[in-house]
């Protein structure tokens, strides 16, 4: 009996050891970005995996070059990414949750059409609408970081409405009836009674939308005027894609700078992120 127990313990330790190795392999690419940020440009290509030495050490030069690389301030990209992501997520959370409540409570034919329209939109790949969507956005002047969130609300509504409707259906009506008897109008009922109950779903949807919008490349690339407005993915693609000889050191510095906020966000909200992903998976 004791032997079997020890064997099991040994097996578990072996698994742990294996996972340590796997984890190291997993972080390796990101670690290489860090290493290469501090190497001179030419060494990034010729000696990718070497540690910086006296000859290749670039200090903070790459970062200094990087923040104005391609004649475009990187700080602007960060700013636009933050604006688009926060505003887009806010609009989606507010308006799709309100619509979801309306849809499940009123439940008219029109509501059902909207609901199934939203479900349908989840299976439509972006390429299907990209050309006409970019044109529509242009016509309606939804082509700035302050207005593009409306497009995100429209194109991203499907998943959010689907998840919120699923949740609202599970809220017992009694609570809202009690609120109505106490004299709450629907506006008040929604904001003081229903909305607080939706918090867990709100967080899940927020996480999924933030991950989507922050990393989205093609939609903002086609919609925004990229001479003026470049989000982080657009900026990085622009530098790598259209420059003749690329300053790899500076590119690595920019990649590092764009990963840092993401990693901080991940480590602080990890619990919610993992829950959000598990919840969102049900939709497909």
């Amino acid at each position: 009996m004791k032997g079997a127990f020890q064997k099991e313990k040994f097996g578990k330790n072996l698994t742990t050891a294996l996972f340590v190795v796997l984890s190291v392999i997993y972080v390796f690419p990101v670690f290489m970005v860090l290493v290469n940020t501090f190497k001179k440009n030419t060494f990034v290509k010729t000696d990718t995996f070497g540690m910086p030495n006296a000859e290749s050490w670039a200090s903070f030069d790459n970062i200094i070059t990087g923040v104005t690389f391609g004649g475009y301030p990187f700080a602007n990209s960060v700013l636009y990414s933050v604006i688009v992501t926060l505003l887009g997520t806010f609009l989606i959370l507010l308006f799709t949750s309100m619509a979801a409540w309306y849809i499940s409570r009123v439940d008219s034919l029109a509501c059902r059409i909207v609901y199934y329209g939203c479900v349908f939109s989840m299976v439509v790949p972006f390429q299907m609408v990209m050309f006409t969507l970019a044109k529509t956005a242009d016509t309606l002047k939804l082509n700035t970081p302050w207005t593009i969130p409306v497009i995100y609300l429209g194109f991203g509504a499907g998943l959010a409405v689907f998840m919120f409707v699923g949740f609202v259906k599970s809220i017992p009506l009694d609570i809202e009836e009690a609120a109505a008897i106490d004299g709450c109008n629907p506006f008040r009922t929604y904001f003081s009674v229903v909305l607080p109950m939706m918090k867990p779903t709100m967080i899940s949807v927020a996480i999924l939308e933030i991950m989507w919008i922050w990393n989205d490349y093609l939609l903002p690339y086609l919609v925004l005027d990229i001479k003026k407005y470049r989000t982080i993915p657009i900026h990085i693609q622009y530098l790598k894609g259209s420059y003749g000889t690329v300053d790899l050191g500076a590119t690595m510095a920019l990649i590092l700078l764009s990963i840092i906020p993401v990693i901080i966000f991940y480590l602080t909200c990890q619990k919610h992120i993992i829950k959000g992903v598990a919840a969102g998976a049900v939709k497909g």
Partner: protein, 304 residues
């Protein structure tokens, strides 16, 4: 038309009537954006797929010609084949590894939370950035062999596979962990008491119980594989190219989404109608796969 109402959604008129008066606030903003951001572009795109056009205002109805051209376009058919193989290979690898990792991490090993954190991390980094990180890694490695990820179709293919696995294993792992944690403890206990081996328990108890997660993950990784764009653009951009005798070229690592994009925004603006037709075909393909998943998920809901 009177629609059947499910019992959970029977609404008291006391709630329903007052809300309806608030439609302009509750429903209209979302519906208006949905019309702008999805419904109109969708139908407009569908319409334009039957037209010859360069811009949306200058179109001419030509019927199904675009579809004929799309289906006889060698590069489109090539990228369809490439994408299909890619999707299937990535589907198998991602799910096997994700399940294995999730299974190991739910066996109460030391540091399970830390490992979970590490494996999920790549999901937060966007496709474009991931593509360039890996292009540095691959080219750094391949430079020892005087080649590059951009010079060899096979290297490009496996590069994309490694990148996709690296990104998505963590995501699927989370879904599998949730599924594995929901396997009833007493069932596992009973199997143990009945003298089932670890393997028997895995295949006869655990896997049948996580079938819903397996369905979700396989379809997710399949549709993700078909829709892959950012990573493809950043890692290989379709290189290397084959130039045909007639002047057309095939980008040998170009997947469907990128092929459609290049047809829209490439040199030849006259081919936009064909691009839109390709996009419609792409939509039918992806929607078909996704709807199969939704109905499978629905079935799971019925069982519960």
């Amino acid at each position: 038309m009177k629609l059947k109402r499910d019992s959970a959604a029977v609404n008291s008129e006391m709630i329903r009537k007052p809300i309806q008066r608030w439609a302009p606030l509750f429903l209209i903003p979302m519906v208006a954006s949905f019309l702008i951001g999805f419904v109109w572009p969708f139908f407009h795109g569908l319409f334009l797929s039957f037209c010859k056009f360069r811009t949306t205002s200058d179109w001419e109805w030509i019927g199904i010609d675009n579809y004929g051209k799309a289906l006889t376009d060698e590069s489109f058919m090539y990228s369809f084949g490439f994408t299909a193989i890619f999707a299937v290979v990535s589907l198998v690898l991602i799910n096997v590894f994700a399940f294995a990792v999730a299974y190991a991490l739910t066996q109460k090993i030391k540091g399970a939370n830390l490992f979970r954190t590490v494996f999920f991390m790549p999901n937060l980094i966007g496709g474009i950035v991931l593509g360039y990180i890996w292009s540095m890694i691959f080219d750094g490695f391949l430079s020892y062999y005087q080649t590059s990820i951009l010079m060899d179709t096979e290297l490009g293919f496996w590069g994309l596979i490694i990148l996709t696995c690296w990104q998505q294993i963590g995501y699927m792992m989370i879904i599998y962990i949730a599924g594995l944690q929901a396997v009833p403890e007493d069932m596992l206990e009973a199997a143990k008491i009945d003298g089932a081996s670890a393997m028997q328990t895995l295949f006869k108890v655990t896997i049948p119980n996580v079938m819903p997660s397996i369905t979700i993950c396989t379809f997710l990784s399949l549709t993700n594989g078909f829709k892959l764009f950012d990573q493809n653009l950043a890692l290989t951009g379709g290189s290397p190219y084959i130039i045909n005798p007639d002047g057309t070229s095939i980008h040998t690592t170009e997947m469907l989404a990128l092929n459609i994009y290049q047809t829209f925004y490439g040199q030849n603006t006259a081919s936009r109608g064909v691009a839109q037709a390709k996009a419609v075909l792409f939509f039918i393909l992806v929607a078909g796969l996704a709807l199969a998943q939704l109905s499978a998920t629905r079935k799971k809901e019925v069982q519960q």
